[in-house]
Point group: D3
Chain length 156, copies 6
């Protein structure tokens, strides 16, 4: 059984993330969406909320599980027996960043692969930062988040 | 069973290609190395030689098969039942090219994924063009091609 | 009255080109779509066909006129009294190319501006090259060209 | 009448900004230089000073007006009836950023265009950050700011 | 006698830095490794420790001297009579940054050159940030820092 | 004595090339401007003319010598005892190309360095291709080539 991890801060989980997760779910037997806890960065949503939003967005994807994790990605891969980390890439800048990250991870531990999936063009500008900006100025979130996530956010 | 295609002109198949194929072979159940026949471009090696070099390089990788193919990649994916095309990416320029290619392929047929694997840093400058340049000036090919491929080339 | 030129080889004129022309038509009083005749490059379509495809695609845009032109863009701008050249940009590579081109044009003649319009994300992978590839493999052109252009091409 | 906005933090307004504004003033009937108030970021100059420096730099450009504004750019465009936002771009990195920004703005409201103007090469390294660095180390500001702005800064 | 400066924050000095310094030492008669004191940024190591780590790493390179410095690089060049600043570049993003920096420095003072040395591929992902990340998660530093630097860090 | 090579096709030698050579002449004791003969590519000027244009442009730079050479750059470096190859870089795309080239050269022979010098901003769009385009359309060459080269070209 091939397992992969889709890591991120997911603050919050967007339709762009969902597209990556769905495609990962088609390529791997098991997908962990890992909300990485980075103690230096406090976000818009707390980790329980981020987890809930990701879970609501991924509902129905049977081989996908949302977890929170801290520490290094390489250690998480070992712990979960993952053979790959999957990341979406939107443009050259994303790629430069991810290629470097992949090489750094490979320096520490060569036992897993980094798999980059090109973002769909119509989702290529979506990011959690953009969603938080939309929220700050009270713009609608439709088309940026899963409808169920939009509903959930509206009541918390 | 998950199948992928690693397409290219492979004129010739380098250690950089081999690294991508090995990693694809760890992620997928079956890997087709597809030497794409592009009628407008004649190369250094003919297609039979390219196939032989790729086969010699991939010997021992049990789930890897070298084929030649023409036409569009999307049609090849359908014909082989492949769920993904795997490409190595060495830098931002490679990524820009591959992201565009993935979007074009997705425009024609959304039934397969493009999977990008960051090249190992020490192989990041290797290319078939570079190998042909080395050959032109009679430089040694060690470290650029598989030793068995080097031996084969020396006798053709 | 402000006039601009949207130059290109338009072999053929795509929905990506149309989007740029429409937006230019909203910013300028008069838009010339200029099919630049580059004698070294023969294309898929001859210049009369390219003009016809562009005209059919732009029908209904009242301030848009399709012309063919040769020579340097700077000379064409002078001849038409254009204050700007408008180009669509899809990614960083396009921009690098266009910024350089703008600086070269400015070296010869500073009397007009280069205006870059970011491509809509869902059109960002479209190009004439891609359309010619679709044609070569007899794939449908819908979504890449204007429906009237598709109809026209099917009968020539 | 066509109106555009040149937005920025302008902390302070440089000769690079002035070049973009002058060129926008040649393309549009009315240009608003909009000093965007971002509450999270305090700068070197307060907003009244930034406005004064921009006004002194743009003196003589009759169709240019300097304003301060907060909120989202899309809302400002609506409020001012602007058909375009104009930004200078210096290199591929600027373009990647602005193309994304344009797509995000287009997601919220498609009623205005983003227009990118390539920076003149001899101004391509100028930025407000660089000017603040020059000030910190008491280097002359000539060639980076308008002479009247230099004079104004020397007495505040 | 030709003198150059290799500036940086060196927090800490890595094998990537060492490679750049060694190559600079082959091109210039005298190399200053300048630990630039940036008062706004406190680091992992204090300046005395950074200097010690750099000195231990460069031991045996006879024409290399490690110094700490503050202020602008252009002033340091003048003070030391340096004809060049040497920087390693790992990818397009590094280059964009350094080309801009070179142009800014040239704006202030044209009396010295910026010399960019492409990083060795196998060191191209190494950075001080990465080393600090390795330390945070208690991963081995071998292959990232000079062995003597690793030993020194283990006892402070 | 430190020697470097500034290689290129120099078809023709521009003011951008001259700026790189002048700066190389300030950093090295001896500079060879090497017109690389690439048999597959015929140019606008023949090799004797290219050499003459480069020589006229570099007249007065006492430590600069113009040569023609064929074969691999690494072999030329060995033959001339050069410790470095010097290239001008204008933007991220140039850098990506040169970093790759440097790594390929380093694969064959690690005995020399690649030194990249950022182009002056006001020369950053100049290229031999652009000059040939100017010639084709009979535009003045002033500001693109050395005045003596302009005079020479006008009479051949």
């Amino acid at each position: 059984m091939k397992t992969c991890i889709v890591p991120g801060s997911f603050d919050p989980f967007t339709l762009g993330h969902l597209d990556v997760v769905k495609r990962a779910a088609g390529l791997f037997d098991k997908v962990y969406v890992a909300i990485m806890i980075n103690s230096q960065k406090t976000g818009k949503f707390d980790f329980a909320q981020r987890k809930r939003i990701a879970e609501l967005s991924c509902a129905g994807l049977e081989n996908v599980e949302v977890i929170t994790a801290d520490g290094l990605l390489v250690d998480l891969c070992r712990a979960l027996g993952a053979s790959a980390v999957v990341k979406g890439v939107r443009d050259a800048q994303d790629c430069t960043y991810e290629i470097n990250m992949a090489r750094m991870n490979g320096f520490i531990d060569e036992s897993f692969e980094t798999v980059l999936l090109p973002a769909k063009p119509e989702l290529s500008f979506l990011s959690s930062t953009f969603v938080r900006e939309l929220m700050k100025y009270e713009k609608p979130l439709d088309g940026a988040l899963h409808p169920v996530a939009v509903a959930y956010i509206s009541v918390i």
